[in-house]
Amino acid sequence: MSGVLLFLVGVLTLAGIYAILAMILNLEAGWAGMWDLGLAGLVAVGGYVFIITTQQTHDDVVIAPGWPIWAGVIAGSVAGGIVALVIGIPSLRVRGEYFLITTLAFAEVIRQLSINLGSVTRGTVGFNQFSRPFDSWVSGSGYRWLLLGLVWLVVLIVNLVMRRLGRSPYGRLLRGFRDNDPVARSLGKHTNKHRIQTFVFAGLMYGAVAPLYVWFIRTVTPSLFTSEVTFVTWTALVIGGIASMRGPVIGALILLIVTEAAALVQGLGEMAVVLASVRFIVLGIVLIVVMRFRPEGLASEREAFASASGRLQQ
């Protein structure tokens, strides 16, 4: 019984992590219209920079400053922002599909680098021993509850930040030029500056929350940051409602609970391989059903921003 409970705690933690990623994706893709297919790469940058700067147990790597955890989180965030700036400046100049291709390619470059820069990243072996925040306070299974609380606290904070951004003149402008760049420019808006700022901010956020993912999985290897991370986040966002306010959290919860439920079928060792592939079938079915009956997603942009003029006078 407690095994099932701990499993559920794990699912909810992972759902929270995907909710955070989906909220960041909602800002850059849903509102600003930048279809990022490389967010796994930005998460990888944050995760690797965090682990490289903070870990103290592996002494076979050339860079190991052994920083405290908070410094590692900041370093991961800054690295995510810098990388986003480097990708953003050339690829946002040409719009649309070029950004999509560039970000997708970038994520693969990061993954290959993490495999091949063995002296820094420990290659495919990766890192599996490192300290997590408040590790000494609670033991074993208690830490799962702590991480669950920490992840959902971050969900709450990111959600409040996104609410503030979405309902500001900044958010209004993003949702405007997303659909009509020439009109925005004809009003004197330097739309590319806003795009780059937004993408760099998304990079900072992905980098900053990457350690949560690392603490949950408890290892850092290249296989953690495959494009599956990107596509699960995208699916969660689309199911929940792209460009909406609550959609990313709703979508991540539903998607993760539904797909991970397959693993609840216990004690069927020979079924493990089948169940692993069932996850993707279920993911596809959920996506198709939502797109058929509610193409704007479970929560919609329309509802999220309804009667905006009335909100001002409050």
């Binding site: 930040v161 503030r164 951004l165 500001s168 003149p169 900044y170 958010g171 209004r172 402008l173 949702r175 405007g176 030029f177 997303r178 659909d179 009509n180 020439p182 009109v183 925005a184 420019r185 004809s186 009003l187 004197g188 808006k189 330097h190 739309t191 806003h194 700022q197 937004t198 901010f201 460009a243 942009e301 329309r302 921003f305 309804a306 009667s307 905006a308 003029s309 009335g310 001002l312």
Partner: protein
């Protein structure tokens, strides 16, 4: 400042080998309402695109308030107060009518990511809201304020386009077919509003197919055909110009 507010000099725009605009010279006096008329394909919109920085001219220069604006980005031209509208009913479809106007009226510093975090944009938003409310009242659109632009009729979108661009407080407003698709009752209101805008000191340059509408509001008319300006003058002078009559009515038998 004396002299023209807008001076187009020797502007040619080639697309491949085709000249959309050929050696156009045109000046616009401050606080006037001028019009560019001409058949489809005469180069009117291409001229607008060149003036507002959306297209780079193959040859020639554009001066606005004495400064050369050729080669500037569209947003840079717009920040100098030269604001245009577009021919197709357009704008920000996912935003409400009110939000469209608020984007038009908001200034750079209030729209930054940092301002969104820090707050402090609310005061500016409230005064922008007041301007938006008056303008929507004048256009009879206040009741539609929370309707998304995507749900509006093309004619109403045209009116919102005009209002949104006006919210950016232009020094000079370039209107690309503002009356097309607008219902007859609203056209009159639009015409009054354009005159009112001029009274407030804004220079207006308008393209339209609706000759009655254009001749009714313009002080100065330029007629374009095949990329060239073939006649310029007051509405009365232009309608008597034989070449203009030929283009619009065909040679009489």
């Amino acid at each position: 400042m004396s002299g023209p507010i807008l001076a187009v000099h020797g502007v040619t725009k080639l697309f491949g080998g085709v000249a959309a605009v050929r050696g156009v010279d045109m000046t616009v006096q401050p606080r006037s309402i001028s019009a560019v008329i001409g058949p489809n394909g005469a180069g009117k919109t291409s001229l607008f695109n060149v003036v507002t920085g959306f297209e780079e001219p193959t040859e020639g220069t554009v001066r606005f308030q004495g400064d050369q604006v050729t080669g500037l980005e569209p947003w840079q031209v717009a920040q100098r107060g030269l604001i245009r509208t577009f021919q197709t009913p357009t704008g920000f479809p996912a935003l409400s009518v009110w939000e469209n106007l608020m984007v038009g009226g908001s200034r750079g510093p209030d729209e930054s990511l940092w301002a969104a975090f820090r707050g402090g944009w609310q005061a500016a938003d409230i005064s922008t809201h007041e301007r938006a409310r008056r303008l929507l009242d004048d256009l009879g659109l206040w009741d539609l304020r929370d309707t998304l632009l995507a749900d509006l009729s093309p004619g109403d979108v045209k009116l919102v386009d005009f209002a949104r661009q006006l919210m950016a407080q232009p020094v000079m407003l370039l209107l690309d077919e503002p009356a097309s698709g607008v219902d007859p009752g609203s056209i009159e209101r639009l015409g009054n509003l354009i005159r009112q805008v001029r009274e407030q000191g804004v220079t207006v340059l308008v393209i339209d197919h609706n000759i009655g509408f254009v001749l009714g509001i313009a002080d100065q008319v330029h007629v374009m055909s095949l990329g060239q300006v073939i006649a310029s003058g007051t509405p009365d002078e232009v309608v008597r110009d034989p070449e203009v009559i030929e283009i619009y009515l065909g040679r009489s038998a």
